[in-house]
Amino acid sequence: MMPHLAVFGVSFSALAFEVLLARLFAISQWHHLSFMVISIALFGFAASGTVLSLIGPTRPSEPAGDLRPAKFAVPSLLCSASIIAAFLGLARLPLDYYRLVLEPVQLVYLLAVYLMLILPFFIAGWIVALAYIANPQRPGPIYFASMTGSALGALAPVALVAAVGELAIVGFAALVPLAAALSGVPAVFSRKSAAQRRSWSGAAFILGWGLVCGTGVWLLTPAAESRLPIKSSEYKLLSHVLQYPDTRAVESLSGIRGRIERVRSPHLRFAPGLSLKYTDSLPSAEALFIDRDQPFFLYDLQSAEGSGFARFTLSFSGYDLVGVPRQALLIMGSGGLAVACARAAEARNIRIVQPDPHLADLVGRHYGLEVVRDSPRALLARTEDAFDVIHIESWGASLPGADALYQDHLLTVDGLKQCLLRLTPQGALVVSRKLMLPPSAALRLWSTVRKALLECGQAEPERCIAMLRNWDTFTLLATRGPIQSPQRVLEFARRLNFDVVYLNGAEPSDANRFNVFDSPYHFDEIQRLEKAIREGTPEEFFSGYLLDVEPRTDLQPFSGSFLKWNRIGDLYRSLGGRPHTLFLAGEIVVAIVFVQALAVAGALLLIPAVAVAKKAGAAGSSEMVYFLGIGAGFIFAELLFIYAGTFFLGDPVVSLAVVLTVLLVSSGAGGLWAQRFGSIGIRPALLAAAAALLLAAATLWGLSDRLLALPEIWRYAALSLSVMIPGFAMGVPFPLGMRFLLQGPLDRSLAWAVNGCASVLASIAAAQIAISAGLQWILCAALLGYALAFWGSRGKTGKPTHEPRSGLRFKPSVPNLKPKKLEGEESE
């Protein structure tokens, strides 16, 4: 029972801490740093296998096969302590991602963070590996304990963070392993000799347990929250704003989708795309900062200034084209200008869609408007309503390049097609974004909406598109049929000193008249692309262009990713030869992390490979390939489901929680089943896992339109069911391998290290594959992983191996079950 309890406890804590770290980094820094740090920290699991393979699970003075409760109780206590220590260290260290590229000392801080965060995962991995070593013929229950603990650990932050806050989750994560550690206490008091009872180790254990428990409980209290506030990078937008005079945060709401802070200040103004012809004041506004960065502005539209200013913004061009909209649908990731535009246009019915419940509530109450709390794609899939204006407003993160890793299913061909199909015949789709150089987002958006129009059956899509810009923003307009009055769009632009990026029939002189570039870059590039399309050579344009601006689809939904690896030298020169600008790109961060991970994995695998190569009983390379394959395959599959879940549920963190919970519980059940029915053999199990995965992926994507149209609860159910079956099948190979392929503690330690390294490398590689190639290739990578495992299991019958001479038995602490003392062994 002891190892199972310990395994459950540390698995819970490790996952809860991992999910929480992602939240903490999102609030204090940016997602880049979260990705970077957590990816490397997870090597702690693999490192535990490496160290175990080098030093063995028992000391030389201890009898082989002797694993006392202390072997699990003490590390459980250390796991708890290390979580608290890591969190406290992280809170104190002045690591700032924004300064990473320019301040060498930040690299030292980053290294310190890696080391601090690796420790809890190392200890957790140590305990789990030890449990497998102690139970060579019964890995199934260990696997089940590990998976279910992890599943609950993934779910706990989602379920609790809104109620208790992020800090309390750290407390929970730290307290749970203490239950297993507590079971080691009787061992202290059950010692027979007075000398042993007087030993300092017992007292230290109890004292340590008390200290850690006390700190963990303290972290649950509001007092801890006030003593240990989460500090943000001073370069995050909220950090700037809070330095303004008469500015304060009046409300803070934690949620798994993000922390929202409501700020009041007389100095908040937001009017992107505002014409220089506007000379009056702007209305006052409050701001809701999401994870202390992306602001959502709530205007005081009842004030004298009202919404009049919005008539002078680029975004209003769509409303001007339509006239007075009867129905307007506003989709705002950040910003909030769309509400002012809709009000200024006197739209009769304004509906806002917002997946974050806190944000939905705050916006709805402020404006007294209907806010639908759901994913925009899901709403568009199931609503029967038609809209005169659908306004998509998303200005992106303040850190340039941070959007590269953002999974956006709205600005894909499929997403825009859905928007277009929900427009009235005279309606307009309005998309407002930042203008970049070299032309990127504007070019991609044009080509994406053009393709969407073609798929809607529009034979002349170019006549349905208009795009205007000022000096740093652009707005795209798209209609279901040809724009009836392009002259109206042109007059709007001329009246307010905006330039045309694209409009059928517009003159080049309209392209660079008021906001003058050295050259009308955006206009020119879209003209070039249009010409290439007319000549039947769009692929040439896309392949020859400096950036990747091809339309995005639901299978490759990263609309903020533009990097082409084979043009990185040209891009560097194009940006003026300044390396620090390149390092902000999300794609480059992923690549750097992958290289780092390769180096770490190499060290963790080569060291034991060299040290133990000649030891008797060491498993061959094919067994290690097996564990490499199933480790990679499992993680690729997991991430595929998470990406799919983000599409169906509208949020990556919610998707992560749901997928992990279902996948891990079901794979744990698979592991238990494998314990009982393991004679099916390893190769059939691998084939079953691959087949189940393929079937689930095909079902999900094949039925995606129908599933998306389901109410939210049914989407959760459908996703869970899709994950459960392959999850069960994928839970079988690992315990079967542990049981039938490996000979002894050394094998199991090495297999644990290999499996851990494969998992981390696969998770990083999955991000790059998703961005560069598409989600379907993650499925291929998962299948490849299982194919590799299939190859690694060649020649293996899957029957139980000969019980090793030094077979380990777990020795319980209850005195009357103590086995016969071995020679030289001291009494307990």
């Binding site: 924004y98 590229v101 320019l102 303004y244 220089l276 150089l437 040209d570 891009l571 003026g576």
Partner: protein
Amino acid sequence: MKKTTLLLLLFLLFPYGTPLADPADPSAAIRARDRMVREQIEARGISSPLVLDAMRSVPRHEFVPGDLVESAYNDHPLPIGEGQTISQPYIVALMTEALRLKPSDRVLEIGTGSGYQAAVLSGLAAQVFTIEIKHKLYVNSTHILQKLNYRNITCRPGDGYFGWPEAAPFDAIMITAAVDHIPPPLVKQLRDGGRLVLPLGSPFGYQNLVLVSKQGEDVAVKQITGVLFVPMTGHAMQKGRP
């Protein structure tokens, strides 16, 4: 000592420019500034002698935190605390040159920051008015500017959105704070024939500048990219050819 050694070692990985070997040595600072102007500014096409002189004369290292003094003359922006950065030297020069200042000009700067830009402007204009909304930055920059004896700079704390009506109109306005639109009050306070400049993008990735010029009722907006954006689009898009 160990930290210095480590920093020096790490600096070998970041050969960005002209580290200042010994900040206490005035001649080293002068040499570093000369090299900065020559290699980072003049070499990139900034040609105004007045601007180049101003960049040579202002001791940039005085405006950065102590632990970053060695990097003061490097070819990149630097964090100076309070979420602020001091711009890359080339950006400062480009923005200054874009204003085409005359010795009689009155300049308004929105966002004093470190005070460095104001110091550079003061060498070219008659009077510089600079506003900073963040109190700590205002105090620091005021102290440095007074210490260095810049007499034609007037600092004040406050919200620069509304400009400085009492001192208006201005011949030139420079906005160094992040904005998503050009504040209408500032355009009103710009003299006829005046120029307003602001940078675009994040402080670590400024790519281009916006220049607003006012002629009567007409207000024109122009992008200045300098060498910050080398157009590799269209027919220029052949590998290796800018």
